[in-house]
Amino acid sequence: MTTTPETTPDTTPDTTTPETAMHDERVARVNAFGRLMRRPEIGALMGAIVVYVFFSVVDTTGNFVGLTGAARWTDVASTTGIVAVAVALLMIGGEFDLSAGVMIGTSGLFAGLLISEYGLPVWPAIFLTFIFAAGIGFVNGWLVVTTGLPSFIVTLAMFFSLRGINLGATKLLTDTVRVAGIDEGVGYDSAAAVFASEVWAPYGFKIAVVWWIGLTILATWLLTRTKFGNWIYAVGGDKNAARNTGVPVKRTKITLFMFTAMSAALVGVISLMRLRSMQAGQGVGEEFVFIIAAVVGGCLLTGGYGSAIGASIGAAIIGMAFIGIAYAGWNTDWSWLFLGLILFAAVLTNSLISRRFQGGKR
């Protein structure tokens, strides 16, 4: 990072150095504040602060502000955030995945059935589950790019198909609507240590939080610092322009669908290891929570704009809301109302900010 790029031999000796070439007197000096305000996730960040302060004030237990409270709300935020980050990349790439919620159940059941019904050791079952999820994601993506149908429809069809299969196949194989007895599988203890243990002992942070933060960093790096990330923005921003410049549009989109399904599989495996069982209806309804997190985090519904960190902050807001409402002593049914209001407020703020700081163009 410290090396300066070599100047090409044919440039005249008196050309400006890269540093001065970067600055131009016509650009009003953008201070740190202005730069920050241009970030896609700024609305989410301000929202997160407001939500945090709000629930700190209404808290009746006195735990929300401290690390004990943080361990609780990051637990909710992590399982939402792991998928929301992948959903955000997919939305930046210009597509939706409504099957991301039900995939949690599907992959959890898939792994669970392999272990309890077919006696596979836990680790190979988890490995096969990720392969399986990648396959489902591939089918989603392949159908979207080859049929040209909106991903909204294709993945809605996948959502209901998987929902039916989850129930049908589970009943067929176990005669119940759940798969249990996972902890009897070979290698359960080591898998549980990786996917379902607690870290930082006195407060009981879940290891899912580590996965969540890790994936957020990875996704941010991928999006902003790699060639593939450039392609994600391009295919979502203008598919035709991307194709004309030689970006493999179909491959990029299919890969994003595969990432999304695999992130849902990770949450499925985490749930399976935690609960030692899986309900056939697990994950249904979550798909919109992921989309809310991504949109609150600054992703445009039309694609081409957004960030992975934003989606994670969106997930954090959702986690704070669910735990904060419980800590305030209110009925948790109100969480959904809160999510609706947060979604609206965040999107409104995002659009106002972008108009103010980007000269009305996004």
């Binding site: 970067m22 131009d24 650009v27 790096w221 322009a241 030689g246």
Partner: protein, 260 residues
């Protein structure tokens, strides 16, 4: 003169029973601007798509640098040095100038899995390259959507030139622009020409064509009806030929009868 950078020989294109192009021959030399003029429906779009590798012609042959060739895809044409800049499909508005400039050709550093964009190098190169073309953008980090239409075309042209295009095909680059912006784009066309690029300028505007063109091909109803060297034609003749002299006079009479 050496072999033409790009040459079409007796090219025809049929879609079912529709004959879009019939027996078209043309050639494009390095360091010149070749204008293809035609009204709506003359076959300009079909010609562009053949030149850029979208369609394979029904009959006839393509030569790149004197060698007979075929284009399997637009990417293939690009690899053979034929770059096409489409009117409004050239850049991604939400992405920054430097990301657009290197889209599809991103410079990277490091080894996989740590391979990453060389953003600093990309920004410097982008700014310098645009400056060399006489395009002074303010900040390579700004979104292309904030640039004017002419500047956007310019970025696309500079990109094609930077990535080694020998032939640059411009599809109606000035049609959506105002007078001043058109002038800016025409200037960049000459810049590209000075760098030895063979420019194909496709337009229905003979005034713009005459300002920069070295050779003019007139396309009408799928046929190449005339070819002019710059020295052998005046602007009035070009306008006349393009509009079909008689038709224009009839139109002039009709319009006069309204105003009188």
């Amino acid at each position: 003169m050496t072999a033409a950078a790009l040459r079409l020989e007796n090219v025809s294109m049929r879609f079912g029973t529709v004959i879009a192009l019939s027996d078209v021959s043309m050639h494009v030399d390095p360091g010149t601007v070749t204008c293809v003029l035609g009204d709506n429906g003359a076959g300009k779009s079909t010609l562009i798509k053949i030149l850029s590798g979208v369609y394979e012609p029904s009959e006839g042959a393509l030569f790149v640098d004197g060698e007979k060739t075929t284009f399997a895809s637009p990417r293939d044409a690009l690899d053979q040095g034929i770059a096409t800049v489409y009117q409004d499909l050239a850049t991604v508005p939400l992405m920054s100038v430097w990301r657009n400039f290197f889209l599809g050709n991103e410079p990277t550093r490091g080894v996989w899995p740590f391979r990453r964009l060389d953003a600093k190098h990309a920004k410097t190169t982008c700014k310098g390259e645009l400056l060399d073309m006489g395009i002074d953008i303010r900040d390579p980090d700004q979104a292309v959507g904030t640039l004017s239409g002419g500047e956007r075309q310019a970025v696309a042209i500079a990109r094609a030139v930077h990535f080694g295009a020998n032939v640059l095909i411009l599809d109606e680059p000035t049609s959506a622009l105002g007078v001043k912006q058109s002038g800016v784009v025409l200037k960049y066309i000459l810049q590209a020409k000075d760098r030895g690029v063979a420019v194909v300028f496709i337009t229905h505007n003979p005034h713009h064509a005459y300002l920069v063109g070295d050779r003019f091909f007139l396309l009408n109803r799928g046929r190449m009806i005339a070819e002019y060297e710059r020295s052998g034609v005046t602007r009035e003749e070009l306008v006349q030929a393009m509009a079909g002299g008689a038709e224009l006079e009839t139109l002039a009479h009709e319009l006069e009868s309204y105003t009188s």
